[in-house]
């Protein structure tokens, strides 16, 4: 575009804009006239009444909350539920009690609240209110009792903790009061009252502490002592010492025990952090040191017992010792003990032992029910396992004995199955295989089904299914044979495996509820005559 054209374009533009503006202004002037006429008409019209039909927001607040909870189409009935009616009745009584409190007639209020509790004992509010009355009447023990009842009903009942704190303060139980106060702050971190109280109680505790020495909590079992390190003077830090404020931290005290806390095994933690360094090395394998809480005679006896059994390797001897003890432990129902040990000594030989004992107890129950003395049965299981270890080590010399761990949940996919399967011990494989639903087995084995897994499956069936006369044995075998990889795997079976298969079939043949058609099919599939 030449300069002349540009100039022309610009001029045209300016002119057009001017015209545009002119027409807009004209339009505006006519609109002005219009709107002024309209305005005059409006002035003549009568004042419209104020919009009175719409309710003021704050006036409808209460009914809003109830209507918001249910859809308007739902018809609202009075609660016909007897429990709800009881609750309503109790609430009415409580309301009467509240009016007594307002008039400072605490005795009457206590009677009212007690009646409410008798009518409906599941609402903590009655207990809290009665606690307040008791507090006002300076019956602090009763107040504490009421608060505890309320906390039992509602663990996060802030008022209950707060009133118990007040009562405890009045009773002089400063430590208890402090715990309650920190609980209140744990639930409601912004509670200003509680913050003030915390400062007050801490102040008081500090005064008492300086009078009668520091107030340490009693040592708990399972605590680790950390010894101070003696450093020569020249190695010591030159930095000035720093004062670190120590704050009491008390988590909410619940009524439930801590047993059912989530526990994560070390193997899982290793996996999470992708630093799986194999089985935990048992350094003191050859001479396991007896821990103080385990009586050594029992262990010696156990070793003596097990040493009679043939083919027990030295490696398994360590494991055997606690295994014999395991049934005793289960008899005493002391399942918590090993768990607490796990925490403190993660890599000690004892831990491995404890795990073994767990596995054993998992496997053994069906047998112990049959036989009266678990001690007799236990070594048998061990020998079986010992053999198992030998077998696997002969087959697969590279991998050490599989790590015993709790039984994983049934797999949902192929990958999960294969990953888990390789890490399981013999008895666990049996349990694991049993946990898989038979019809989905073929799918779970999937395309990753290889000869090692196949051999393992056969061995599991041979070693566990057959002795236990599992009714699903034939179905499992059939399901395995449905896998796409099976044809080639069946062709490549080693002599040992073939022997295993034929012994399996021989066993199945003798079972009472056999299905000849299925059996023939299996024989054909597995190519065993």
């Amino acid at each position: 575009m030449s300069a002349q054209e540009k100039a022309f374009e610009l001029q045209r533009q300016v002119r057009q804009n001017a015209r545009e503006y002119e027409s807009s202004v004209k339009d505006l002037y006519s609109w002005e006239q219009d709107i002024k006429n309209k305005e005059k008409e409006l002035q003549k019209a009568p004042h419209s009444a104020a919009n009175k039909d719409l309710p003021v927001r704050s006036h409808i607040k209460s009914e809003k909350s109830s209507s918001a909870a249910s859809s308007p189409t739902e018809k609202q009935d009075l609660p016909v539920d007897p429990v709800a009616q009881q609750h309503k009745k109790a609430n009415d009584i409580k309301d009467r009690g509240n009016t007594y409190v307002k008039q400072a007639e605490y005795e009457k209020a206590i009677v009212a609240y007690s009646t409410a509790i008798a009518v409906y004992p599941h609402d903590p509010i009655y207990h809290i209110n009665r606690a307040l009355c008791n507090l006002k009447q300076e019956r602090f023990e009763l107040c504490v009792e009421d608060c505890e009842a309320a906390i039992a009903l509602d663990k996060l009942c802030v008022k209950a903790y707060y009133r118990r704190m007040q009562a405890n303060e009045s009773l002089g139980n400063n430590m208890e009061a402090l715990k309650d106060c920190t609980t209140v702050l744990a639930i409601e971190p912004k509670n200003i009252e509680a913050k003030k109280s915390l400062a007050r109680i801490n102040e008081r505790l500090r005064k008492i502490a300086t009078k009668s020495g520091p107030n340490f909590t009693p040592a708990r079992p399972g605590m680790i002592d950390i010894l101070p390190i003696e450093k020569p003077v020249y190695k010591r830090s030159k930095k000035a010492m720093r004062r670190v404020p120590v704050v009491d931290v008390v988590s909410p005290r619940g009524t439930s025990d801590d047993n059912n806390k989530l526990r994560i095994s070390d193997e899982d933690i290793d996996k999470i952090f992708n630093s799986n360094c194999g089985a935990i090395e048992e350094v003191k394998r050859t001479n396991p040191q007896p821990t103080p809480d385990r009586p050594s005679p029992a262990k010696a006896e156990a070793i003596a017992e097990t040493s009679k059994e043939a083919k027990i390797t030295k490696q398994s001897a360590v494991k055997v010792a606690p295994v014999v003890k395991a049934p005793k432990e289960t008899l005493k129902n002391t399942k918590i003990v090993p768990e607490s040990d796990n925490e403190t000594k993660p890599s000690s030989p004892k831990k491995a032992a404890v795990e073994v004992s767990k596995v054993q107890t998992e496997v053994s129950p069906p047998k112990t029910t049959k036989q009266h003395s678990p001690e007799v049965k236990a070594p048998k299981v061990i020998t079986m396992q010992a053999e198992k270890i030998e077998q696997t080590s002969s087959n697969n010399a590279v991998s050490p004995s599989p790590i015993e761990r709790s039984l994983p949940p049934a797999p949902t996919g192929t990958a999960q199955f294969h990953v888990t399967w390789k890490e399981l011990s013999g008895p666990q494989k049996y349990q694991y295989l049993k946990s898989i639903k038979v019809p989905s087995l073929c799918k779970i084995l999937g395309a990753g089904f290889d000869s090692d897994t196949f051999a393992d499956l056969l061995r599991t069936i041979h070693d566990y299914y057959i002795p236990n006369k599992e009714p699903t044995t034939a179905a499992v075998l059939l399901e395995i044979s449905k896998n796409d990889e099976f044809t080639i795997l069946a062709m490549l079976m080693s002599a040992e495996e073939k022997k295993m298969v034929s012994s399996i079939f021989n066993a199945i043949r003798n079972w009472p509820n056999k299905n000849p058609a299925v059996l023939d099919n299996l024989l054909k599939e597995y190519g065993v005559s």
């Binding site: 503006y21 609109w31 305005e39 719409l54 927001r57």
Partner: protein, 375 residues
Amino acid sequence: MDKPQLIEHLHEAVTYTVYDTKWVPLSAKFVVLGSKANGHGIMDIYELNQDKLVKVKSVEKKVAFKCGTFGAASLRNRHMAIGDFEGRLQVLDMEQPDLPVYNVKAHSGIINTIDAIGGTQIDCGAPEIVTGSRDGAVKVWDIRQGQAPVVDMSPPPQMGDGINNSSGRRDCWAVAFGNTYNAEERLVAAGYDNGDLKIFDLRTLSVRWEATMKNGICGLEFDRRDIPMNKLAVTTLEGGLLVFDMRTQHPTKGFSYVEERNAGRSVGTNGVISGPKATVWAVRHLPQNRDLFLTGGGTGSIRLWQYEYPDRRVIDDSDGNKLGVAGALNMVSAATLSSQPVHCFDWHPDKLGLAVCGAFDQSVRVLITTKLNTY
């Protein structure tokens, strides 16, 4: 060239600092609120008369006026709700402005911002006024209720850990009503000096959503107040302009938005953006087209924007939750009016393209915008 032109039609210099300008509905008049040099509040009513402005009325009060709105007034009763520098909310009748219809000490500090709703809209709940103040509180008023607010959203009496509470309460700079599509639903969006954006649900009396912008929030407006909330425009210090898509609230990510960081800078005649990152003081959607809106910047420039919706406004994220998709912002037109910030702006509700704005250079301008009907 068929882009809209923002043209200054009339210019009126005044002798006081202008704080707010508002059209009187269904008339050719507008109200100018301001503060005289002696700290007195002044309210002038001007009328358009061909090529000049005629001052119809002038009212002076003891306390400087900060903001006003006709949102809660019916067409017949022209009641303007006004907030002043001492935290007083008064409703004045334009016919008899000397005696307030309603008068309440609403806040302990200056009322920075005001919005109202329910006057002319049908079927969208009670007429209510919301005020935001330097004392940190956002209060909703219904003049039928008396001296107490119907909803009070004050910050808690003590926040912080005893060390960091010296800064005290946040300063509320912007409020806006929205989502008022039936008699029950209503939201208030509030912007604070630290960049906090809070959306309060007045039906459930709870905080619906909160987020923090990079800079303090100066202006807020829903594109329409009487529909299920669609878009929310937010302007901030240092030139931020954000438009949130308010149709879809993701459980964790909240609302999606599109951001423009240069909205406060001035645009030269040749389209070059220059100057400092000035505050974007105000945002106003065109009443006749909700996808066009105007922002007033700290450099005395105003800009007209168009919001372009994305192809799909909602997508499913990997967790199966609905996630809103923000659109794009196109600058349609720009003009520089003054050397001082254009901080208040009002489109005429009845006449497309007619607007009035006030700037800190003690003047009021009537603008005509052409070709808006082409969008």
